[in-house]
Symmetry: C2
Subunit: 213 residues, 2 copies
């Protein structure tokens, strides 16, 4: 598998396979056919076969897929076989929500620091982690090996903070601020733009009204 | 425009246009060429022209696009010319984060109720709105015209709650729970799956390590 390029569209679908396979695994299911998986996931069986063929076809005619093997393999492709140390920059409700989400840690994303510029938040304990003042970020990054910084600051503070993070060695940013960060090419940025998601919703509501469905 | 179908891919890009045009408008920019917009948004000028041609070509050769007109038109297409009443079901950190995000209200998404099943959260005031017990949802939905319910409950409670919401007339759900809701076809569901976003990030980190970039 090493070095084999999987198309972006397939990669986007992998977390969903991973979730369904994980659910099956929890329920003790050992094998599943593409037809059964198709029914569960509500995508065509041929799409499933096509997607999973990317990994060298672990499906055996008549036997279906080995759930655990496929789950582990997709996890490995998604980089979930590794542990990531993460900091949260922005200790407001959203930063606290991310910190409290225990599933992230189970998947290997370990939050080891939370920072904020707001003195009112500094010192607050969130799931055992004390919110620190943002000034401490450079030192913290020198002293700890951090792979991911989640950026949950308001838009007005996000760009400057992102630059500071990158200057101090951060190579991957999970960005919740509603702007496009302009960072060096080797920095990985994954955006969660909640407003844009909400606009897709209002678009669909609006369309439904127009078409009278 | 009424009834004209815009491709899903273009619709997905509209919020980003809307954001950039809004920023330009705030800075008093009246007109912009596709080339200038291209540079700002880092997409090709031909992509921009192609996308915006969907709306009957408001670009005038040599004059560029009228920023305000385009902003308003895209807003109208996205349904942002209307007001939506929203409830938040799940008053934890994430629900509170959504409630505290004032930009949503500016865009016409007015949160008028927050509910939770956890008695510890009930009664807490979030930006002037008191968290109510989830049992009150059916009555609240009868007495108020609600267009959107944001679902910020844990996965284990989300499906049941979604069914209850739909039974009580909710037609659009903004789902943050990490599962695919199985609801009647006329119910609009927009998902925000944070875990999947995080997995895209770890995939990219993992790829970078493999390719040695």
């Amino acid at each position: 598998m090493e070095g084999k390029e999987i198309s972006r569209a397939v990669v986007k679908r992998l977390p969903r396979y991973y979730r369904y396979l994980g659910d099956l695994l929890e329920r003790g299911v050992e094998r599943i056919s593409s037809n059964d998986l198709s029914e569960k996931m509500r995508v065509t069986a041929s799409q499933i076969r096509q997607d999973l063929n990317n990994f060298g076809g672990f499906g055996q005619q008549g036997y279906g897929y080995n759930v655990e093997f496929l789950y582990n393999e997709i996890g490995r492709i998604l980089g979930l076989d590794k542990t990531y140390h993460m900091i949260i920059v922005g200790g407001g409700n959203l930063g606290q929500a991310l910190t409290n989400y225990v599933k992230f840690e189970k998947r290997g994303f370990k939050i080891i620091g939370i920072f904020d510029v707001n003195p009112e938040l500094v010192g607050k304990n969130v799931r055992g982690i004390e919110i620190r003042v943002a000034d401490e970020i450079p030192r913290f990054l020198r002293e700890n090996d951090i792979q991911i910084a989640a950026l949950t600051l308001p838009k007005s503070q996000a760009e400057e903070m992102a630059v500071l993070l990158v200057e101090n060695g951060v190579k991957a940013i999970w960005n919740f601020a509603h702007l496009d960060l302009r960072l060096p090419e080797d920095v990985i940025v994954e955006n969660v733009h909640l407003s844009e998601s909400l606009m897709q919703l209002s678009y669909n509501i609006s369309r439904r009204q127009e078409t009278g469905r």
